[in-house]
């Protein structure tokens, strides 16, 4: 069918079907599957992602390609290399009709296919609000802020309900490169370094988060899912997508076209930059703009944590001026605990509680209580 057949660079036998984005190697389907799994295994071993045998570990599962590939790969690897850990699928139901309800059906099938326990936690039970109801109330502008803030806590809260202290997410190299780019463009150096870490933990709790697919290209994930015929769900959220991420993503895809190694190079840049954020850190322009008196503006991003409330008028110029600064200088946020729900927060009341309060103002109050932990990005 094709004029110029390439042989697999690994087995030298089969027809090459894949070009590896990170090195241009032409390999066959079965060698690709093997190499992909081996690289995820290497990430796990080198970073000691599963230090304790017998540990129960949650996989954040959306039914999409990344988390489905993560669950499938980990099941394979756990059997092959005997990590001795038990995986539980943990899904968040944002309450978005026509989007999440369909993808949750996929997760339910995955739970059977991979013989894993499944736990679904809903925004409605955690916060008293589904995203459909949030959109009904606030409209389609700014609704993603609510979803983002709620989601950061929801996985942790779900894991706590399961008595689990380690969450794996399906973030791939492209996701991380996008986030590195976004944080770079925003001048958000503390996040820039953290978003590239393979494992994150908070000083205030024992919850860990890991990204075993951190070095896997999105392209490889899609190919892996295709060749293994994995059952995954793909659709866009029915509400507005993240515009800024969309642009970062388009830029990344264009860069990848010209130079496929760009994706991993950006991930590596993020990793390196984390070591360089030891000096005083200036807040970005965006954060400066965001420093309006409390209650005077619309709800923006969750940053700058610990700044708005303490100094609504003057802009802190260096990390040292911000209270509760950790000695390593790696983050400007001051980390404490929300007085209302006990979740990690830099302000007396965490962002989720603030948002829930604002939603409830004309509704019956909703109790939000669950000790939680730190967000990922």
């Amino acid at each position: 069918m094709t004029n110029n057949m390439h042989r697999c660079a690994v087995c030298q036998t089969n027809r090459a079907q894949v070009i590896r984005p990170k090195n241009g190697q032409k390999i066959c389907k079965s060698c690709f599957l093997e190499v992909f799994e081996l690289e995820v295994h290497t990430t796990i071993v080198e970073n000691n992602i599963f230090p304790t045998r017998g540990e129960r570990v949650a996989i954040g599962a959306s039914g999409g390609k990344d988390s489905t590939v993560l669950a499938a790969t980990l099941k394979t690897l756990n059997e092959r290399y005997d990590y001795g850990v038990e995986f539980v699928l943990l899904s968040i139901d944002e309450g978005i009709h026509g989007y999440r309800d369909d993808s949750l059906e996929t997760v339910k099938r995955n739970a059977i296919q991979y013989e894993m326990e499944l736990c679904i936690v809903g925004y409605d039970s955690l916060y008293g609000w589904t995203m459909d109801k949030v959109v009904e109330k606030v409209g389609r502008k700014g609704n993603c802020t609510y979803c983002g803030v709620f989601r950061r806590q929801a996985l942790d809260r779900g894991a706590k309900q399961l008595n689990i202290s380690h969450i794996l997410t399906g973030h791939n190299a492209d996701d991380i490169a996008e986030t590195v780019l976004m944080n770079f463009l925003r001048g958000d150096l503390p996040r820039l370094g953290r978003c590239a870490e393979v494992m994150t933990a908070s000083p205030t709790s024992t919850m860990r988060r890991s990204k075993p697919l951190k070095y896997a290209y999105e392209k490889e994930i899609v190919l892996y899912a295709h060749y293994r015929e994995l059952d995954y769900f793909s659709t866009e959220c029915v509400y507005s997508p993240e515009a800024f991420r969309g642009n970062a993503r388009s830029l990344l895809k264009e860069l990848e076209k010209i130079r496929p190694s760009s994706v991993l190079d950006i991930v590596r840049s993020g990793e390196q930059l984390v070591h360089d954020t030891t000096g005083p850190i200036r807040l970005s322009c965006e954060e400066t703009k965001d420093l309006r008196p409390v209650g005077s503006g619309q709800i923006g991003d969750i940053r700058p944590m610990g700044v708005k409330r303490h100094s609504p008028v003057t802009v802190p110029q260096t990390a040292q001026e911000i209270p509760h600064q950790p000695a390593d200088g790696s983050r400007v946020q001051a980390i404490g605990v929300c007085g209302k729900c006990g979740y990690m927060s830099s302000q007396p009341i965490c962002k989720a509680c603030v948002l829930v309060e604002s939603l409830n103002r004309s509704n019956a109050p909703v109790e939000v209580s669950f000790a939680g932990d730190q967000a990922l990005h």
């Binding site: 094709t2 090459a16 079907q17 988390s67 899609v222 190919l223 659709t235 993503r249």
Partner: protein, 106 residues
């Protein structure tokens, strides 16, 4: 022989099927020669699909600058199109071309 067609199978995945009325498989008979007299290649197929088969008006979700938009993976008979000359690959009868979007949420 100029009215000959090339029968090929097109598969859509990763959310792209939504642009084609949720059809995951399309049987397409491409003209054996394009208007310019060339053999039809992948880029021609992309345009052909936009004109003749796409039900959605958002052509830019599929095609940009005469080829598939970046972030859509193309497999020619289950092999990465980069191995086959990408958009320039000349379609052969009974080829299976898979378009899969990597752009949708995971």
């Amino acid at each position: 022989m100029s009215t000959d067609t090339i029968p090929i199978k097109v598969e859509l995945a990763g959310g792209l099927e939504l642009l084609f009325d949720n059809e995951k498989t399309l049987n397409v008979d491409l003209p054996a020669k394009t208007e310019a007299g060339d053999a039809p290649n992948i880029n021609y197929l992309v345009d052909y699909l936009c004109v003749h088969r796409m039900k959605d008006t958002r052509r830019e979700m599929f095609e940009i600058n005469g080829t598939v938009r970046a972030g859509i993976l193309v497999l020619i008979n289950d092999a990465d199109w980069e191995l086959e000359g990408e958009g320039e690959y000349e379609l052969q009868p009974k080829d299976t071309i898979l378009f899969v979007s990597t752009l949708h949420g995971g």
